[in-house]
Amino acid sequence: MGEFFAMGGYAWYVWMAYGAAALTIVVEIAAVRTRRRRAFDELRMAAEPAPAAPSLMRTRGAR
């Protein structure tokens, strides 16, 4: 196992390269998911204030 990680003495180079690839993938996927979630959140916030405002005038349970 140690031999695998050592990569014939080139461990630093190989794992910096593969690590960068892994990092890129993780960061990109996370960023896209965050972007989607934020887009939906903004959509939800834009849609909700209208129904929410009238409910302030009525009793809470009426919603």
């Binding site: 695998f4 990569m7 014939g8 003495g9 080139y10 180079y13 190989v14 910096m16 390269a17 593969y18 960068a20 690839a21 890129t24 993938i25 990109e28 996927i29 896209v32 998911r33 972007r35 989607r36 887009a39 939906f40 903004e42 959509l43 939800r44 834009a46 849609a47």
Partner: protein, 250 residues
């Protein structure tokens, strides 16, 4: 399988399709990457001259190819956006740029770490690396232009023009950099030349490239979904998506 492409050009029709395909290609990408990594890190034999350092090509080559391919695809979508004036074509181009830039950056990084043990230097001004660097600048320029124009439709058209102008320039840039490089190196050693390929090495590169393709499609389709939601905010059909989202379906 004939699809009425123009019907698909409405963001409404495309949105659910994008979601389904994104998951499908994501799963495929994971499978291919798994197989590819096994080949890259275990099955492929250690190279005689470069040792285990050569295994970086299984990341570097797919990343470099994807950086180029994505630019071409982005240019095609940009041409469609200008020619047919469809919003979705422009959104696809918008979704492709960040992934392309990341691929170019990854290609440069992995190329540097491959270069150091093999040819003694992290950065050498060889033709492919320099062209990839300029390609990265082109991507960043498109992303910067988009974020600096307020009106989304104007940004669509401006970025489309820029992408096409860049596309025409990429072969010119590549050719000129290659010329410049051979002039100054005399007998040029292509610093990104792979070692003589055993069949397993070639298979590994192909599998990893296929994995990169599928990954790109998955990520870009997910991103275009976000873009559709961001930009189609006024449209009524999005409200139904909110409920779906709350149930975690979308």
């Amino acid at each position: 399988m004939l699809i009425n492409w123009f019907r698909l050009s409405s963001p409404v029709s495309f949105y659910p399709l994008a979601g389904a395909w994104s998951y499908a290609f994501g799963a495929l990408a994971a499978l291919l990457a798994g197989a590819g990594l096994v080949v890259a890190l275990w099955i492929a034999p250690t190279d005689a001259t470069q040792g285990d350092a050569y295994r970086i090509i299984f990341i570097h080559v797919p990343a470099a190819w994807m950086a180029m391919f994505i630019y071409l695809v982005m240019a095609c979508w940009s041409a469609a956006a200008l020619g047919f004036n469809t919003r979705l074509s422009a959104m696809m181009a918008q979704a492709l740029a960040p992934t392309g830039a990341l691929m170019a950056a990854l290609a440069l990084w992995t190329g540097a770490f491959w270069g150091r043990p093999t040819w003694g230097t992290y950065w050498a001004w060889d033709a492919r690396m320099t062209s990839t660097l300029i390609l990265l600048f082109l991507y960043l320029g498109i992303i910067a232009l988009r974020s600096s124009i307020e009106d989304p439709r104007r940004a669509d058209r401006a970025c489309a023009v820029l992408a096409l102008v860049g596309a025409v320039n990429v072969p010119i840039i590549y050719f000129s950099v290659q010329w410049w490089n051979t002039l100054h190196q005399g007998s040029s050693i292509s610093l990104t030349a792979a070692p003589k390929m055993a069949m397993t090495m070639l298979a590994g590169i192909l599998i990893m490239t296929a994995a990169a393709w599928c990954y790109t499609i998955a990520v870009v389709l997910a991103r275009v979904q976000a873009i559709i939601v961001e930009r189609e905010r006024g449209a009524g059909w999005l409200e139904s998506l909110i409920d779906l989202r709350a149930e975690g379906r979308a």
